[in-house]
C-alpha cells in the first residue's frame, strides 16, 4: 500500500522560538498589530510504501529517531492512503 503521511514537528512549549519571535516582530512592523504569538515548526510530506499493520509504528519510529528531536520538539502525524500513485 502507498501512504501519504504528514508529519508536523513543533518546538515544545516553553522552548523559546527565535524564528517565531522574529516573524512576529516583522508582522507587527508591517502593521498587523493584532498578532500575539507566532511559533514556527516543520511540515513534512512523506510518500511511503508500507503494510497497513506496520505503517503507523514505522512513522512513529521515524519521528522518534530522526524527524523530531525529543529534547526540544513534539510531533504529530496523519496517515492517509495515497489517492493516485
Amino acid at each position: 500500500m502507498t501512504y501519504d503521511i504528514q508529519v508536523f514537528v513543533t518546538l515544545k512549549e516553553g522552548v523559546l522560538d527565535p524564528q517565531g519571535n522574529a516573524v512576529q516582530t516583522s508582522l507587527t512592523r508591517l502593521g498587523y498589530d493584532g498578532v500575539q504569538n507566532v511559533r514556527i515548526g516543520k511540515k513534512m510530506d512523506i510518500r511511503m510504501e508500507s503494510e497497513p499493520e506496520k505503517v503507523e509504528s514505522d512513522v512513529r519510529e521515524m519521528c522518534e529517531k530522526l524527524l523530531a528531536n525529543p529534547v526540544i520538539e513534539d510531533y504529530e502525524y496523519t496517515i492517509e492512503e495515497a489517492l493516485s500513485v
Binding site: 522552548v15 527565535p18 528531536n69 529534547v71 526540544i72
Partner: protein
C-alpha cells in the same frame, strides 16, 4: 598520541583540525571516514565542524546515524577523549552523548568572529593547561549555537562542574551563556567555539592550543602509569 579526525559528508573543518594536531601539536592524526566502523587504533577522537549532510533537518541530525558513530560511542564508553567542535558538538548532542539540543542563534544570523570565553573548569582532561577562570580568545562560526537544556539538566551540569566554557556575554541565546559542556564521565567535550582555529598567532590567536595540549598531557600521564 594518535588522533582520529572524523569526516562526515559535509564536514569542512576536518583539515583545520588535522593541521592543528599534526602541525601545531606535533602529534599523529588521521582522517576517518563516516562509513568506517572501528576507532580502536586511536587514542582520541575529534569531531570537526562543518555542515554534515548539509545540516539539513537539524544540525547534526543525519550524521548521528553514520556507521562511524557507533565506534565513537564505543570510544567514549572506553574513556577515550572525544572532542566535538561546532558541528561535532551538534552531532554529539543529537547522538545523545551529551545532554541538550541546539537551536538557531537568537539573532537568526550566522555569527563568525573571535569571542572571549571564560574557562569555567580547569580540572578536566581538556582544560588542565588553562588557569581556572582564564579568559581566552577563540573564534566562533555557527548559525545553530543556541544551547538549550532542561532546568534539571542544567542543575546537574552546573553541580558537577560539567560546564567548561562560557561566553562572556549573550552571544547567541544559549542557556547561561554555555559554550562547552562535558559528559558525566568527563571524557567527552562538546563546544561551539573553534579551538583548532586558534593555534597560530599569525591568524589572530593561539589560545586554543592549550586545549589540545591538555588532552596530550593527560593521556601521557595516565599511560605512563599503566605501562
Amino acid at each position: 598520541m594518535k588522533f582520529a579526525v572524523i569526516v562526515f559528508p559535509g564536514s569542512n573543518c576536518d583539515k583545520d583540525m588535522y593541521y592543528a594536531v599534526k602541525n601545531e601539536l606535533g602529534e599523529e592524526a588521521e582522517y576517518v571516514f563516516h562509513d568506517e566502523t572501528s576507532l580502536d587504533r586511536f587514542d582520541a577522537v575529534l569531531l570537526p565542524g562543518g555542515f554534515s549532510y548539509g545540516d539539513y533537518l537539524r544540525s547534526g541530525a543525519i550524521a548521528q546515524f553514520s556507521p562511524v558513530m557507533e565506534a565513537v560511542k564505543k570510544a567514549a564508553a572506553a574513556g577515550k577523549p572525544v572532542l566535538g567542535v561546532c558541528n561535532g558538538f551538534q552531532v554529539l548532542l543529537e547522538a545523545g552523548l551529551l545532554p541538550g539540543a541546539m537551536r538557531r542563534n537568537k539573532g537568526l544570523k550566522f555569527i563568525c568572529k573571535p569571542v572571549t570565553l571564560r574557562t569555567e573548569e580547569n580540572a578536566t582532561m581538556f582544560t588542565s593547561e588553562y588557569k581556572q577562570g582564564e579568559m581566552i580568545t577563540v573564534p566562533v562560526a555557527h548559525g545553530d549555537g543556541n544551547y538549550y537544556c532542561s532546568d534539571e539538566d542544567y542543575r546537574i551540569l552546573k553541580e558537577n562542574g560539567r560546564i567548561v566554557f562560557t561566553y562572556t556575554d549573550d552571544l547567541n541565546g544559549s542557556k547561561a551563556n554555555i559554550a562547552g559542556i562535558l559528559n558525566e564521565s568527563g571524557n567527552v567535550l562538546g563546544m561551539m567555539p573553534h579551538p583548532e582555529r586558534a593555534v597560530d598567532t599569525l591568524l589572530g590567536s593561539a589560545d586554543g592550543l592549550p586545549l589540545f595540549r591538555s588532552i596530550v598531557a593527560n593521556w601521557r600521564e595516565t599511560h605512563a602509569v599503566h605501562r
